[in-house]
């Protein structure tokens, strides 16, 4: 492995630790519940998009059906808790495992498909899931499930009176999703995935197990997204099929990664940090009228970013850009440099 890459990875890890530490202190200064809510959502969508990015960004298998795994995570936790009294922590784990298994079961036939046929298959499968939950009476059907709030408790992972525990859990989730991506980037899987994405035939001929590497990416990605879904159920106390499994969810999960930089380590989180606050703020300032102004702003933003920066916003923040800025600064202060020589 070349040293520049190792250097970059070490730097990424340091930057991430510093950012996480800073993020952890933010609630000490920001007490406003509305702002805290936006921060929780930003971290959650960042984590979801980071997980989506593993299958769709790194491995190149564009899924627009990840709402399925999100919904399974949310439903597993909510159903186990309300029907059998199983603690959400086990529901979270269970939902993740079930999602990973389903992702592999679905991947088995789907990974033979290419391009748009694959994308539409993922949409259609999630839509079948949505319709089944819609008609599944035991799981609340279209009415959904309400999770009874019985006071603050880490055991039951519910805090009706405070956003802080949710904030820290979402932060941990985002860090885990980031770290898993970071770790996988330099593993055997990471190299396989990039090879599969660039040219599956060439990868196969060089001994990459194309099929199994897609299956691995799908399992990891689905597991993490389901944990996010499970968190979401605990966060909002109420889920119904549309609100956790709708097609919109799949697109919203992809969006931060696409805008930030698909298939990059930092893209999803950057996209979420920019996109989610803008979405939430426009929704509460101009969306209250119910007249769609928030949609116009939001859609316009998506068009603008995808046309102006097709490679994602991440390029604006690279170390190369930083070096370029330094060069620029040096241009404006040439005298001192000569003196130093």
């Amino acid at each position: 492995m070349d040293t520049a890459f190792a250097e970059r990875r070490r730097r990424d890890l340091i930057v991430a630790s510093v950012l996480a530490a800073i993020a952890a202190t933010v609630p000490l200064f920001v007490k406003d519940v509305y702002v805290q809510n936006i921060m929780v959502l930003t971290l959650m969508w960042g984590a979801l998009s980071q997980s989506w990015n593993i299958l769709s960004g790194y491995c190149g298998q564009i899924s627009l059906g990840h709402a399925l795994y999100f919904g399974i995570g949310a439903y597993t936790t909510a159903l186990l808790f309300t029907k059998f009294g199983v603690l959400p922590w086990f529901g979270m784990l269970g939902g993740g495992v079930i999602s990973a298994l389903i992702a592999m079961a679905l991947g088995y036939p789907c990974f033979r498909l290419r391009g748009h046929y694959f994308v539409i298959a993922t949409i259609v499968i999630a839509e079948i899931g949505l319709l089944l939950f819609h008609n599944w009476d035991w799981a609340g059907a279209a009415m959904g499930i309400e999770i009874p709030a019985r006071g603050d408790s880490w055991l039951k992972f519910q805090f009706p009176r405070s956003k802080l525990p949710y904030f820290y859990f979402a932060l941990v989730l985002a860090c885990v999703a980031w770290f898993v991506t970071w770790w996988l980037e330099d593993s055997k899987w990471g190299y396989w995935w990039r090879a599969v994405k660039d040219n599956p035939e060439a990868a196969e001929s060089l001994g990459v197990d194309v099929f199994n590497s897609k299956m691995g990416a799908a399992a990891v990605s689905a597991f993490l997204v389901a944990v996010g879904g499970s968190f979401y159920a605990q966060f909002v106390y109420f889920i119904d099929p549309e609100s956790v499994m709708g097609f919109q969810f799949s697109l919203l999960m992809a969006l931060p990664a696409v805008l930030g930089g698909i298939g990059t380590l930092w893209g999803p989180m950057l996209g979420a940090v920019i996109l989610i606050p803008i979405t939430e703020l426009t929704r509460s300032y101009v969306g209250g009228s119910g007249r769609g102004v928030d949609l116009i702003v939001y859609g316009g933003l998506i068009i603008a970013i995808s046309l102006v920066r097709p490679q994602g916003l991440i390029g604006l923040f690279s170390f190369k850009q930083l070096a370029r800025l330094k060069q620029l600064a040096r241009l404006f202060a040439p005298k001192r440099k000569e003196v130093a020589r």
């Binding site: 046929y117 839509e127 949609l295 995808s306």
Partner: protein
Amino acid sequence: MTAEAIIQSLASGLLMGLLYGLIAVGLALIFGLMDVVNFAHGEFLMIAMYATFFLFMFFAIDPLLSAPLVAAALFVFGAVVYLLIVRFAVRAKANAGMVQIFSTFGLAIVMRGLAQYFFTPDYRSVTHSWLGGKTVSVAGIFLPVPQLVGALIAIAAFGALYLFINRTDFGRALEATREDAGAVALVGIDKNKVFALGWGLGAALVGLSGAVMAIFFYIYPDVGASFALIAYVTVALGGFGSVFGAFAGGIVVGLVEATTALILPPSLKAVGIYAVYLLVVFIRPRGLFGSM
């Protein structure tokens, strides 16, 4: 369940299927031409339905008469969308696929927002049109007239499209551009002009179907979403790149939907469509008539 009931629902499934084909063919045309899936296709349908509705409300023009007007308006709209947005999206050097998906998806959201803003989220319907609510009995089978006329319009549109692609200069330019856009530029055809006209034509076809749909379907800002998904499945089922595939795909989708509704509760009828799509592509990964 009597044989009559089965024939009855298959017949209405066939009519609906032809309409699905008409909705989908614009998508198939654009995809075949330049490999772009228009994620705002449902919203094109939505504004066509609104256009029909407002022409009816303000000028009392029956949807049957306004259909050509709506198609013409959508033609202009489609060409403008290509020139303002899609032209730049296909030029993207990185992530071309995602950029196309999300620039047209962004357009869909903007269009929905604009519809909510200007038309309000209220449900509208064209009441007392010439065909609305009428049925006709053919050999003991009752067929709703709007769907029947819609299906006839769909067949006529497919026929016209076939002649258009195969018999006119523009149609040949369209085919040639789809075969090899680079070579077409060499013989002096402006690729952008062909693409813009292709988008116009695709949008005009969805405009036509919107005018027919407006006769018997509620009109609201989100109406496009459900039909868009069926249109994607229709196109993929028929095979991307094949205009004839969209026609056949539409018929299959309509029949499958009707059959599923006989067996499963009505709210699950879309499951049949999706299941058949998966079954077809698992066996034949390029759809029924698609080329690889």
